[in-house]
């Protein structure tokens, strides 16, 4: 049953792939550490690199996954040292991380969060190794109708759990799906929404979309930030970098509990690090906050969300590798990257692409160890990245964006399109949308339509096929449950915990 893992280590341990895993870990940590950039932007900006190097599919996925996990490590630095979360997943880390830094414990906080991240990721990678093959066996039973229902479930759970505004999450997802319909319809050859522009015939290119949406809009947002609070907060001195064993042991249950919570939430399609860390933090606060010190620099309050968000990162690979449904915005980007290699995500991937899947999972183990080794002693060095002035950072992001897109297309139209999408992304963010649902919709949109149409051709147009099998009924019910659960839970909470403060 674990042949894929042995084969995977064979792939991941080649010098090239080891080097790429290291490069990914290093670049990911650096980019995640950049103030305000955070994991999802980090991977979006660095993604074209994987193509420009002309790597085979598994190597480029190893590099990208390294960047992903690396930026989750790096993302904690600006949270702890500057109180600036790089993205939604790092917000919880600031609650106790920054107070610790203010107390002069920045170094131990960085060390502890690195160890918690390592343990969280390890638990989740073990879980991934155990569960993914099992789920892949079930997944083979999925027909088009079940797939369609699964994607509805993914969108339902995403809108219920992601962000504070379910309505805007849904609207974002619909917009993403709509963008995926641009281009030649594969079934009939009809051109949809191309407005006679040949550049759009192949649809909106994934890389152009991602870079525009994240990198370009980020440039505009950074200008606002720079303008509004002219300088960033003073960086806390780091001090002793190593964390004491006793401090880790003090948090061991918090870390383990949060790792499991993170992994389980990571598996749920559409919900990522932000939900995982929030749930872990509130759970831990309930369990072990006896003296009301959470939020004032409690070590456990720092360890819990860090373990959870790294665990959820690895957990979100489970649905991505077994069902082809990304578990988070970032895995949606990875999935889109795989599609560029003509690898069809879906239940057959585990069977048809053992090299890619096994290599990726094995490299997660390796990368995780590399990250711990990089992050413990070098925390101080990475922290210096935080001091890169914005006026140098922003042109660098622009250069990476332009070169990335130009390298792939050698076409100025693609760059203009990227800029237009960037303005669109900026406006969405200003209207209070998060971009992950848009990406998820964009990546899943094509598959969703394809499966819907395949299902209906099988039944000759009878929509009842969509809810005929037990599996699909289960998925529809699950979708309905997740969609309405928060409403019910919110009411219950209001009833029983009138004094509960919203996180």
């Amino acid at each position: 049953m674990f042949d894929f893992l042995i084969q995977g280590f064979g792939v991941a341990l080649t010098p090239l792939n080891l080097g790429l895993a290291f490069l990914g870990a290093l670049l990911g940590t650096l980019f995640g550490a950049l103030p305000g950039i955070g994991p999802i932007n980090g991977i979006a900006i660095l993604m074209p690199l994987a193509y420009t190097l002309g790597l085979p599919a598994e190597s480029s996925l190893i590099l990208l996954a390294g960047i992903y996990t690396g930026s989750e490590y790096g993302g904690r630095m600006s949270s702890i040292l500057l109180n600036v979360p790089g993205d939604a997943g790092a917000v919880m880390t600031t609650l106790d991380g920054h107070p610790l830094a203010k107390k002069g414990l920045a170094g131990p906080a960085l060390g502890l969060s690195a160890v918690s991240s390592f343990i969280g990721a390890t638990v989740a990678i073990l879980g991934l190794t155990l569960f993914a093959p099992l789920l892949a066996i079930v997944a083979v039973k999925f027909g088009p109708a079940e797939f369609f229902a699964l994607m509805i479930f993914a969108f339902a759970s995403m809108s219920a759990m992601m962000g504070k505004d379910p309505l805007k999450t849904l609207i974002g997802a619909v917009l993403g799906v709509l963008i995926s319909t641009v281009g030649v319809d594969s079934g009939t050859g009809v051109l949809r929404f191309t407005f006679d522009m040949p550049e759009l015939y192949d649809g909106i290119d994934f890389v152009v979309m991602i870079i525009g949406l994240f990198a370009v809009s980020e440039i505009l947002l950074m200008l606002e930030h720079a303008f509004r609070h002219d300088q960033d907060g003073e960086m806390a001195p780091i001090g002793r970098v190593m964390v004491k064993l006793s401090e880790v042991l003090h948090c061991k249950w918090a870390i383990l509990r949060s790792s499991v919570i993170g992994f389980v939430i990571g598996i749920l399609p559409g919900t990522g690090a932000s939900v995982a860390s929030a749930v872990a933090y509130t759970t831990e606060k309930r369990i072990s906050d006896h003296d009301n010190s959470f939020g004032t620099g409690n070590m456990r309050g720092l360890a819990a969300p860090e373990a959870a968000n790294n665990a959820s990162a690895a957990g979100s690979f489970v649905p991505m590798l077994t069902l082809g449904i990304p578990g988070s915005g970032t895995t949606a980007i990875l999935l889109g990257a795989l599609m560029l290699y003509n690898i069809n995500p879906g239940p057959m991937m585990f069977r048809e692409q053992p090299v890619v899947v096994g290599g990726l999972i094995a490299s997660l183990y390796i990368g995780n160890v590399m990250l711990l080794l990089l992050n413990l002693p070098l925390a101080g060095v990475f922290a210096r990245v935080l001091q890169v002035p914005r006026w140098l950072l922003v042109p660098s992001v622009a250069i990476l964006a332009f070169v990335g897109v130009y390298q792939l297309h050698s076409d100025l139209m693609a760059i203009y399109l990227m800029l237009v999408i960037g303005v669109f992304g900026y406006l969405l963010r200003k209207f209070g949308f998060s971009l992950a649902p848009v990406v998820l919709g964009f990546v899943l949109g094509g598959l969703m339509e394809e499966n819907l149409r395949r299902a209906l051709s099988i039944s000759g147009g009878d929509a009842a096929i969509l809810w005929q099998s037990g599996l699909s009924i289960g998925l529809w019910v699950a979708a309905a449950l997740v969609a309405f659960l928060p409403l019910v839970a919110g009411k219950l909470k209001a009833k029983f915990l009138p004094a509960a403060k919203a996180p």
Binding site: I171, T181, Y416
Partner: protein
């Protein structure tokens, strides 16, 4: 507090939904093997978008601060800069364009003119060397510089 932004957004989304529906409706489909065809999916989506937009109109949320005044001007200027970057990228070449744009952006983001000049030029040169020699990416040299280098 500022509910107007969401209301305006919902009207825009309604307009978008209508536009998509009309576009999809007028798609000329000569032949379709499957009973659904290419029209249905966008039509369903536009209906969904319209419903969500109406809900948004009825229950708008507060929106953040919108840029105005000097900040808006800076944003527009940055955007223009990026489009200029795109327009000159090939003809003027990576090195020159990147240097000019980097200096301008650095200055926009609050660097002193001297710092911006040094930083921007170094950034352009450094990234050019990195991309060309370390990563083997060929970047546009610029049509004006090629005659100077001799024909090849």
């Amino acid at each position: 507090m500022n509910l107007a932004a969401d209301r305006i957004l919902s009207l825009l989304l309604l307009g978008l939904a209508a536009f998509i529906a009309v576009q999809a409706w007028h798609l000329d489909v000569p032949f379709s093997y499957d009973p659904v065809g290419p029209k249905a999916f966008p039509l369903i989506l536009s209906a969904l978008l319209a419903i969500l937009a109406v809900v948004l109109f009825v229950r708008p949320g507060p929106s953040g601060q919108w840029p105005s005044g000097a900040l808006l001007l800076r944003l527009l200027f940055t955007l223009v800069l990026l489009f200029v970057y795109a327009a000159l990228f090939v003809d003027l070449g990576f090195l020159a364009t990147t240097a000019i744009v980097s200096v301008a952006i650095a200055w926009l983001f609050g660097a002193t003119p001297l710092k911006a000049l040094i930083g921007g030029v170094l950034l352009a040169a450094g990234s050019y060397l990195l991309f060309t020699y370390a990563l083997g990416i060929s970047l546009p040299t610029g049509s004006w510089i090629e005659p100077l280098l001799g024909a090849n």
